[in-house]
């Protein structure tokens, strides 16, 4: 089984703990980051299989981070899941335009998030 590395960018420590730990306990290699700049460095150094991020982040929001990832040929192939508490249609639209692969609205049940992640890796395995 190939590596199933996930980078999770979330500035709220409680939420980072909730979803990060949940995914980790499910067997995924999850690296958490509270700051987008730090996350970028992690991603560039060791590109993960999947990136999950919040929208509201310090200095740079998730949308901008996505645009930067997607415009860099080195990281453009890595799927980006956005986990946001913004539920407005406009936010979803912006995320889709930035190149986000899946937009999930918080609060989302940890098990549901896990399902999405598992689905992604299953699809990648079989694909």
């Amino acid at each position: 089984m190939s590596s199933q590395r996930i980078v999770y960018v979330e500035d709220n420590a409680d939420i980072q703990l909730l979803y990060g730990e949940y995914l980790r306990s499910a067997g995924f290699d999850v690296e958490c980051s509270s700051h987008p700049e730090a996350a970028l460095e992690i991603i560039n150094t060791n590109p993960p299989d999947l990136i999950i991020m919040d929208v509201q982040l310090p200095d740079m929001d998730g949308i901008e981070l996505t645009i930067r990832l997607k415009s860099d040929p080195q990281t453009a192939q890595i799927p980006v899941y956005i986990l946001s508490s913004f539920a407005m249609d406009r936010d979803k639209e912006r995320a889709a335009q930035a190149g986000c692969d899946l937009y999930l609205t918080k609060p989302i049940s940890p098990s549901l998030l896990l399902e999405h992640v598992r689905e992604f890796f299953a699809a990648r395995e079989s694909g």
Binding site: N12, D14, I15, L18, Y19, E21, Y22, S25, S85, F86, A87, M88, D89, R90, K106, P107, I108, S109, P110, S111
Partner: protein, 717 residues
């Protein structure tokens, strides 16, 4: 070559041919007769010569033989008495000739005469037949005799004697009958020529006249534009001129045998056809009968029929002969003229009526004008005294009149010639002419020196000017702007709050779930039950926050409806399906009554479904026993959805407050978990955003019926 010349030539040739044939026949007969005559002459000469020989032998044997002279004399005498010419004729001669020294003695024998006429001629000048006969030859010859007459002669010798017999006849006699017949032939030719002249002079002119008449008739028929026709006793066509092809489209041979009325009348039962039958039945002449029929290709043809009966000597009808004149052009011209006359008459009548109308209107207008002038005077007086600013303007937007109040607020100068657009920026771009012409009513609100005025602009077409009444709306405008801004601020605040609330809620709900999953409590454990409570209340709080957010979005104008074509029958069935377990758990029944065919409207599918789910969910909450029914009715432009329950009902007082946010019907009979109090307000917002309406019909203790009405077409911008 004219007919006359031809006939004369023919006759002349005939005469010539007759002449040639007759003359040739005469010639042949004459030649035949000549040959006959020649052979007869020869026969006669031979017979006589044989007889003479017999006689000579007798005479020689009778002794005593006289001198040669004597028996020859005797022979001649006996011959003269015995021999006879074969044919009685004036010029027939039978001559016995003998050589007498240098001369030739000719003895002419005459029948019954017994004597002989004797002549002696020198041998040298003797005619050929005598010479040849005496020389012992036999034959025939055409020559001249000693007297110089032209003769034909047969000659034969007496054997061993220098004696010959010559039978001759003058050629003139043989020829005489033919010469005579020639006169008759000449006469006949002359008679034939005369006959020819007679024909040429008397019969030919008559013939020529008839022929000219025929030519003339033919030319007339050809050049005539009328159809010329003939019928038999049964009125069937026996002749028809060729121009029927042009006039009727039928060639004459196609018309022959048809009845007169079939050819010239459109129907046998039409009046003209009956008239025609009547006239022909009585053998009366036809005079200018106007008939109507169709050509072969269906074009109308008018004909004028004239004809005369053809009677035989017994005054019996043999048929008719006549013409059919094509009067289509004339009839159509008449028709057009008649129509023109009718049209002219109609127009004169119309014009007369119009004039009467105009006269009436003119009178009315005069009266109206008086009324208007009266009104204008009152208006001017009223405006002058009114504390409300009043301005009167013309089609170019210039001020005709302004009362003191208007002068003050618009800062008008005396005799101000500026247009309204120059006086107040908000008036620029107004089409004053159109406003006056159409009697338009416009409202413009404008700020002047920190106050707001609403200008009611009205065009008065009958007066040709417009008036503006201004009212001070400063308080109203300020209040409205403040209210709007407060509402926006509230909505923004709600949106932000709901977002902020989500984060801690995410943590609470998320960890509750993780704990429930991972802590290993049994469902009956107190800790498990407590965790369940935390999670359930967290979820309720989330619903509340979501509703709040939706409401805020709508109020902040940020909810964007995604219009698609939505089949409501399908949507209602889905919603009912979604709620079915919920309904079943409460021991209720849910009926869905929708038309079999799709009912499609333009709407945001998710939002409309949200409304229906909300209404059904409400109905479940307030119904203890019975059922919930969902109905769908549709018309071409509207649909009506009804969600009806048999629940506790709502009092009229509560019905009024039902759709306000955070209002909940407080009732002791309330059955289940508390609602957010936002559901119906949200439903109303969504339905109204769709340009629809929602209302409730309810009676306490009987049930409630929530009715949603939506337009079929939503032309969203």
């Amino acid at each position: 070559m004219t007919r006359q010349t031809r006939v004369i030539t023919l006759i002349t040739i005939m005469v010539l041919v007759a002449l040639v044939i007759t003359l040739s026949a005469e010639r042949i007969l004459y030649r035949h007769a000549l040959t006959n005559e020649l052979s007869r002459c020869l026969d006669t000469a031979r017979d006589v010569a044989e007889l003479a020989e017999v006689l000579a032998r007798q005479l020689k044997s009778q002794p005593p033989a006289n001198s040669a002279q004597d028996w020859e004399e005797q022979l001649l005498r006996q011959l003269a008495s015995a021999a006879r010419p074969m044919q009685p004729g004036n010029t027939s001669r039978l001559v016995v000739c003998r050589l007498a020294g240098e001369n030739l003695e000719l003895v002419g024998l005459k029948h019954g005469a017994g004597t002989a006429e004797r002549t002696t001629i020198p041998w040298a000048s003797a005619p050929q037949p005598y010479k040849r006969a005496v020389a012992g030859e036999a034959g025939t010859l055409q020559t001249e005799d000693e007297a110089g007459h032209r003769i034909i002669a047969g000659y034969a010798p007496l054997d061993k004697l220098n004696i010959g017999v010559v039978a001759s006849i003058e050629l003139a006699e043989v020829r005489a009958p033919y010469t005579r017949s020639r006169i008759f032939i000449a006469f006949g030719a002359v008679a034939l020529t005369l006959l020819g002249i007679l024909i040429a002079n008397f019969i030919m002119p008559a013939y020529r006249h008839a022929s000219e008449l025929e030519d003339r008739l033919r030319d007339l028929i050809i050049s005539n534009t009328d159809i010329i026709w003939e019928t038999d006793g049964q009125q069937a066509l026996t002749y028809c001129s060729d121009n029927s092809s042009q006039i009727l489209g039928w060639a004459p041979r196609e018309l022959l045998g048809k009845k007169l009325h079939e050819v010239f009348c459109i129907k046998p039962e039409c009046p003209v056809a009956r008239q025609l039958s009547g006239l022909t039945g009585r053998s009366e002449p036809l005079t200018n009968l106007e008939t109507y029929t169709h050509t072969r290709d269906g074009q109308p043809v008018y004909l004028q029929l004239s004809g005369v009966p053809v009677l035989n000597r017994q005054q019996e009808l043999q048929g008719y002969r006549g013409i059919a004149k094509n009067i289509t052009d004339r009839r159509q011209a008449e028709e057009a003229r008649r129509r023109l006359n009718d049209e002219l008459e109609r127009r004169v009548q119309e014009r007369t009526a119009e004039l009467a109308d105009a006269n009436y209107l003119l009178k009315q207008e005069v009266a109206e004008r008086k009324r208007i002038e009266e009104r204008a005077r009152y208006m001017a007086l009223f405006a002058e005294l009114s504390p409300t600013p009043v301005v009167r303007f013309d089609t170019t937007g210039r001020i005709l009149m302004a009362n003191p109040a208007a002068v003050e607020i618009l800062s008008l100068r005396s005799n101000d010639t500026r247009g309204l657009g120059e006086i107040l920026e908000d008036f620029t771009g107004l089409d004053f002419a159109q406003c006056i012409q159409e009697g338009a009513k416009l409202n413009i609100t404008a700020g002047i020196r920190r106050r707001f005025y609403t200008f009611n602009i009205r065009g008065i077409p009958e007066l040709g000017f417009g008036q503006i009444y201004a009212s001070d709306v400063t308080e109203l405008v300020t209040a409205r702007v403040e209210a709007e801004s407060a509402n926006r601020a509230k909505s923004q605040f709600l949106a932000n709050m709901s977002h902020e609330l989500r984060t801690p809620l995410t943590v609470i709900n998320g960890f509750s779930e993780v704990l429930l999953e991972t802590a290993g409590f049994q469902p009956e454990d107190q800790q498990h039950i407590y965790l369940e409570r935390i999670r359930k209340n967290g979820e309720h709080l989330l619903v509340l926050i979501n509703d709040l957010l939706d409401l805020a979005k709508i109020e902040a104008g940020r909810m964007e409806l995604e219009y698609t074509r939505v089949d409501l029958t399908n949507l209602l069935r889905e919603a009912a399906e979604h709620m079915s377990t919920h309904v079943g758990r409460r021991g209720l029944e849910l009926f869905v009554d929708v038309p079999p065919a799709p009912v499609v409207i333009e709407a945001d599918r998710i939002r409309i479904k949200q409304v229906i789910l909300n209404l059904i969910s409400n109905a479940i909450k307030f119904t203890r026993i019975g059922s919930i029914s969902v109905w769908l009715n549709s018309s071409p432009s509207w649909v009506r959805i009804s969600v009806k329950d048999t629940g506790i009902g709502i009092s009229p007082e509560n019905q009024r407050r039902l759709f306000y946010p955070f209002e909940q019907v407080h009732d002791k009979q309330k059955i289940s978990e508390p609602g957010t109090g936002l559901g119906l307000a949200l439903c109303q917002e969504i339905v109204e955003a769709h340009h629809g309406k929602i209302h409730v019909v309810s009676e306490l203790g009987i049930g409630s019926d929530f009715i949603v009405e939506l337009p079929v077409n939503n032309h969203h911008e």
